[in-house]
Amino acid sequence: MSALPPDSAKARGAAARPGRISGPFDIWRRRLMVGIVILYAAVLIVAPIVGLLAGALADGVGAIVSALSQPDVLAAFKLTVYIALVTVAIHGVFGTILAWVLVRYRFRGRWLVNGLIDLPFAVSPVVVGYMLLLLFGRSGMLAPLLDVFHIKVAFAVPGMILATLFVTLPFLPREVIPVLSAFGLEQEQAAATLGASGWQTFWRVTFPALRWGFIYGIILVFARALGEFGAVLVIGGGIQGRTETVTLFIFRALDERQYVGAYSSALALGLLSLLLVVGTDLLRKRVKRE
């Protein structure tokens, strides 16, 4: 867009082409294309969201509140938030270290590590759960070791945390790496010259610069962890009251035809992660502008 002079033709939306006057044909083509795209987005994205709102609100707000305050729903929400918080804490520390190592150090196989980070995007959640079962399941490779120490990973919360960690691994490094490489070293070197220790430099100089990338990455991890389904289904088993997260509850409720509970929980979960992601994004953009 920057190549264009900010003239009235651009403001009118017509593609400004010197030597050509945008005739009625161009205007109609433009309207047609905008119309098609808006219709597509409306039918594909907006209508289903409205559909869920309408479906959940069909029995009134009271029905939603009472469905969400059922003990098994509350327990599911508690477990989901717990798993998401643990995931965020682990990724917050190790994901940042990983980003740091990738940006600041040279080592053999750096390209490989860089590529590995993106792999979870392409791995099916069911495969993730199955991989963990092969390791930690009853006849898994690590089963003898786990038996000795009486640790339960499969069909228990630790396994679900591992699955969620796998699925959410790319988000934080992918947000932090670009910010960290754009930040460069000058300010850190200045701080070091003034006598700051490495740790002080990180907390006082580097981290504040990374802050928004870090926060947005954390929120993406958290939101993605809230909504994880396939991987925690396979490794957790969806045992009611013990390993049932919100998504697993919705799945069971649909199966048992408890539609009010299913739709209310789906609405609550969808709204929660939507508000988190969209809200943080808006906040970040506003801060950037100022």
Partner: protein, 285 residues
């Protein structure tokens, strides 16, 4: 791929001290190894323990084969539609001004923020056989959207909407319009300009966006298990078939399907990486 500015890595001035550097590196590597590498090695070892022949045997079972075929077919249909509509969305967002443009721009990202299981529930509510729209389609044309193949494609389209748009949009924004203007001065009509000048510059982002969405679609589970109806041989996709194999403790079938899905997805991701690197080296003519 992100790369750091190589000249900035001076060994003297960056802290932490050598032991700290060593500690950070080993923390990062063991984190990746425990979470990613070990599980992946285990699954490939398990699936190939009977050799490639065993893997082939498990995959060529009719139910497994049709699940795989359905997955590839619906993903391909999605990728084509997504490529066309995503490019069009990006074009409209970059080139035109219209009321609601910023809203449309925000809507593109919504699918990333919605859990895919919730997407499935949404689609069933709106287009399912008991809904107004789904019921009407059933009465008029005798075919259902949900619990059938169109539902699978619809769910995949929903989830993958951002990928082509967000790949094409920045390239189109930076696209120098001199060539388009030159073509216009030479008397080319706007459609010719788009086909001959604009599109050739965009094929790389379009292809990489569409292929990435294809790779993701192969493994998609949460929305599809709700939407597809899961009839073996008819509407059961690879991921749902895999779940069945895992639940019935059929280790060979599960490992074989996992390896096929993983290899397809990794191959596609690597191919897209290669395409992008090649595109960076020699900018489009």
């Amino acid at each position: 791929m992100t790369t750091a500015a190589p000249t900035l890595t001076s060994r003297k001035t960056t802290r932490p001290a050598p032991w700290g550097r060593w500690a950070l590196k080993s923390a990062a590597f063991s984190y990746l190894a425990v979470l990613l590498v070990i599980p992946l090695i285990v699954i490939f070892r398990d699936g190939l323990s009977e050799g490639v022949g065993g893997l082939w045997q498990a995959i060529s079972l009719p139910i497994a084969w049709s699940a795989l075929k359905l997955t590839l077919w619906t993903s391909a249909v999605m990728a084509v539609i997504n490529a066309v509509m995503g490019t069009m969305t990006a074009y409209v967002l970059v080139r035109y001004t219209f009321p609601g443009k910023s809203v449309l721009n925000a809507i593109v990202d919504l699918p990333l923020a919605i859990p895919t299981l919730v997407t499935g529930v949404m689609l069933v509510l709106l287009y399912g056989p008991q809904s107004l729209i789904g019921g009407w389609f059933q009465d008029q044309f005798g075919w259902g959207i949900i619990f059938a193949r169109p539902g699978i494609v619809l769910a995949l389209l929903f989830i993958n909407y951002p990928f082509v748009v967000r790949a094409v949009q920045p390239v189109l924004e930076n696209f120098e319009r001199d060539a388009e203007e030159a073509a216009a001065t030479l008397g080319a009509c706007s459609l010719t300009i788009f086909w001959r000048v604009t599109l050739p510059a965009l094929w790389l982002p379009i292809a990489s966006g569409a292929l990435l969405s294809f790779a993701r679609a192969i493994g998609e589970f949460g929305s599809i298990v709700i939407v597809s109806g899961n009839l073996p041989l008819r509407t059961q996709t690879a991921a749902v078939y895999l779940l069945g194999e895992v639940e019935s403790a059929n280790r060979q079938g599960a490992s074989a399907m996992s390896i096929v899905m993983l290899s397809l997805a990794f191959g596609l991701v690597l191919f897209v990486d290669w395409l992008r690197q090649r595109g960076q080296q020699e900018p489009a003519p």
